[in-house]
Amino acid sequence: MTAMLAAVQISKSFVGVPALSNVDVEVRPSEVVGLIGENGAGKSTLMRVLAGTHRPDSGSLTLDAKPLRLRNARDAAVHGIGMVFQEQSLLLNLSVAENVYFGQEAQFARFGIVNWRRMNLAARRQLEKIGVDIDVTTRTSELTFAARQMVELAKALTLEESTQRQLVILLDEPTSMLGQADIETLFARVRALKARASFVFVSHRLEEVLKISDRVYVMKDGRVVAEHAADAVTAPRLHEIMVGRGLQSEYYKEMKQEPPGAEVLLETSNLGVARIFRNVDLKLHAGEVVGIAGVVGSGREEVTRCVGGFLPQTNGMLSVAGVPTRIVSPGQAVKAGIGYVPRERRIEGLVMFLSIAINITLANLDCVMSHGVIDYRRERNLAVDWIRRLRIKAPSPDIACRNLSGGNQQKVVLARWMNAGSRILVLDHPTRGLDVGAKEEVYELVRELSAQGKGILLISDTLEETIGLAHTVLVMRDGEITARFDASRGRKPDQVELLRHMV
């Protein structure tokens, strides 16, 4: 079959970091194309290029073998390409009908006044097409997440009215927040619509991708590394291609991984936050790294937020060094000796406009106070010392953190908690956005922290990293722990084994 929409040798960089390199993909008529890859592999960037919201640095798009230039989403819409966004793009304060025809109200307007009755009728027709029965005058905020996803789909399908062509609908992780029943409904709609439209489907859940797709592309590090017919490949095989290599123990400094001590730093029993996760039992020993694996929505993120004090617990017990502790704010977590290294480094991690020195002492200013005032010389010396110890690349401790690279910013965050004497560290995607060299340095630091007897609770972007760094891996799904694996040196579990408990 011939291609309808094709991307030819597409490359795209963001401030010098390549996100896509020479990517070729094609979408054929009435086809569902699966697109998989780890976080940062370039899936979302590729989708945005196809949707016209990102312009490629080089390469081109073709539609029915003719060159296609997209300047924005509206251009894409004219050519029958629509996107259903991962982070839903609906305006919650508007009605369902207003959302479905957002930006296209003109067709219902006369003399600048919108005929709401006509718009509502048209919106109802759109929803009927995908078999959804929702009152179109409802405020969108009153709908469930799954229903909103359907409204998004209906919105994308309004393209039908503006063009005669086959449509291409881009679905960027539409299932990540949906329950099983809703996913089935969505898939049934996608199948029913295949006569009129092709789909590109991005998801983390490989089984799901295989189930709905005709063909699957695998992306890694900004490139397409494989293309398979969906019935000729298995999920474990896809995962292997996606990760790209077997576990490299050297990369994660596995030889430096020592057995943890006996002291329990953090213990939870039946820990829960209503409607998000429940019955989480975990023990974190001195010198131990406990990794939590799970897909988006598994609740693992929230477990770390809870331990860090950002999300107050509603059930169960949490104790720090044997003392039952209630943590309802980051301040209390810090007092209890818990340091949180957030994924949003630039927002929650550092005060970007203040200097390295100030950021390092922010959590315990006491260490540089003398006679009740801040001793600037001592603060500076302390910062110089941390810069040396953690090999932070910075010309001076006085420069603002915004001028540092991502890896060095992460080191400043770690320096702060080390300086504050935190014994428990929560690492929330500690290597996100870092290049390979910076990642290795963070791994090295994790080993050093373990050797100093710190307990580390870790969630990360890849299973490989979680397994490589952790002594113990907990697997979560739908808000509960589904499996525990010993991941100490020489006994690293297989990724496929973990995956079985994740999806």
Binding site: S329, P342, E348, V351, L354, L362, A363, L365, V373, I374
Partner: protein
């Protein structure tokens, strides 16, 4: 537009924007030089002392506002607080003597605290919170004075004359303003509270995440703002020998302008009281310069408004806030 953008990028390149540090003092020096050349008498010590005395009230008011702005908020209640303090002073001097000063300033502390509490506990944006408390405070001033100006009588003036005297040739009001300025500077630079103010203003989520009590820091900043506003009101009342519910009207705009012109970022986290001192002097000298070149006194506020718009538009850091509301 292109030139304006280029100018902006020079001024607003965050902490590396050295022009942000250099421009205000440079403008001040140029202004002094221009007026000094136009009118040689201007640079005499006694003229300069008069200018400093005239700047004292504006500076104390602006120094308080600096705290509110540094934490990323704003205090629009300061002129009402200053007026209320003047009324309280004038009303209570005959009965309480020097204690009237204490009561007047405590009133400022209370209203600043109330603003902070409304802002933080009820999650009301600070400009709305202080606009509203400013209204309440203005009403209290009107009630306490029956809506009239209250002259500080001859008998009570014994308690206010010290404010209008000089110490070794330096006016007492100038000494008070400098003391308030130095104390504010030290508090911001050398205390936990000051450090927390900067952190909250420059990156509130990060400040919260490292365990800083953001709410308490904000309330304290508004309390300081209220206290200094009341101090400004008290100084003004002594200088004019009168307290009035609209004594400090028309001072909000120049005070905020002084903070911003001095180089403190309207978005918070960057700046300080030392910059506000420079800003206040610039505003003062512009004011004198205007009378000098014959600008109608009634047009003053127009100029200050324009100066504020100009200063914010060229210095605001758009990398920090994408959407301007």
């Amino acid at each position: 537009m292109k030139m304006l953008d280029a100018f902006r990028s020079l001024l607003s390149a965050g902490s590396t924007g050295w022009l942000r540090n250099v421009a205000p003092p440079a403008v001040l020096l140029v202004l002094i030089a221009v007026i000094g050349i136009a009118s040689p008498g201007f640079l005499r010590a006694d003229t300069l002392l008069v200018i400093l005395s005239d700047t004292a009230v504006l500076f104390v008011l602006a120094a308080g506002a600096t705290f509110a702005i540094l934490i990323g908020g704003i205090d629009l209640s300061i002129q009402s607080v200053a007026s209320l303090a003047s009324v309280i002073l004038a009303q209570l001097l005959p009965r309480l003597g020097l204690w009237a000063f204490v009561v007047a300033i405590l009133a400022g502390v209370a209203s600043g605290f109330a603003s902070g509490l409304v802002h933080v506990r009820l999650r009301v944006p600070s400009f709305v919170a202080t606009l509203a408390t400013g209204g309440v405070v203005a009403g209290l001033g009107l009630l306490a004075s029956n809506g009239r100006a209250i002259t500080i009588e001859e008998t009570s003036r014994l308690d206010t004359t010290w404010m209008n005297q000089s110490l070794d040739g330096v006016p007492v009001v100038v000494i008070i303003a400098i003391a308030a300025g130095v104390a504010s500077f030290l508090a911001l630079r050398y205390t936990r509270f000051g450090r927390r103010c900067m952190a909250v203003g420059a990156g509130e989520p990060a400040a919260w995440a490292v365990g800083i009590n953001v709410d308490r820091t904000k309330i304290l900043a508004f309390t300081v703002s209220g206290a200094l506003a009341a101090l400004a009101g008290v100084i003004l009342a002594c200088r004019l020998s009168s307290g009035s519910p609209n004594l400090a009207n028309q001072t909000l705009l120049p005070a905020i302008a002084a903070v911003i012109v001095g180089g403190t970022a309207i978005t918070g986290g960057l700046g300080g009281v030392e910059r506000t001192a420079v800003g206040a002097l610039i505003i003062s000298i512009v004011r004198i310069g205007m009378t000098f070149v014959g600008v109608d006194i009634f047009a003053e506020q127009m100029v200050f408004g324009a100066v504020l718009i100009g200063a914010v538009s060229v210095t605001i850091d758009r990398s920090k806030i994408a959407i301007i509301k």
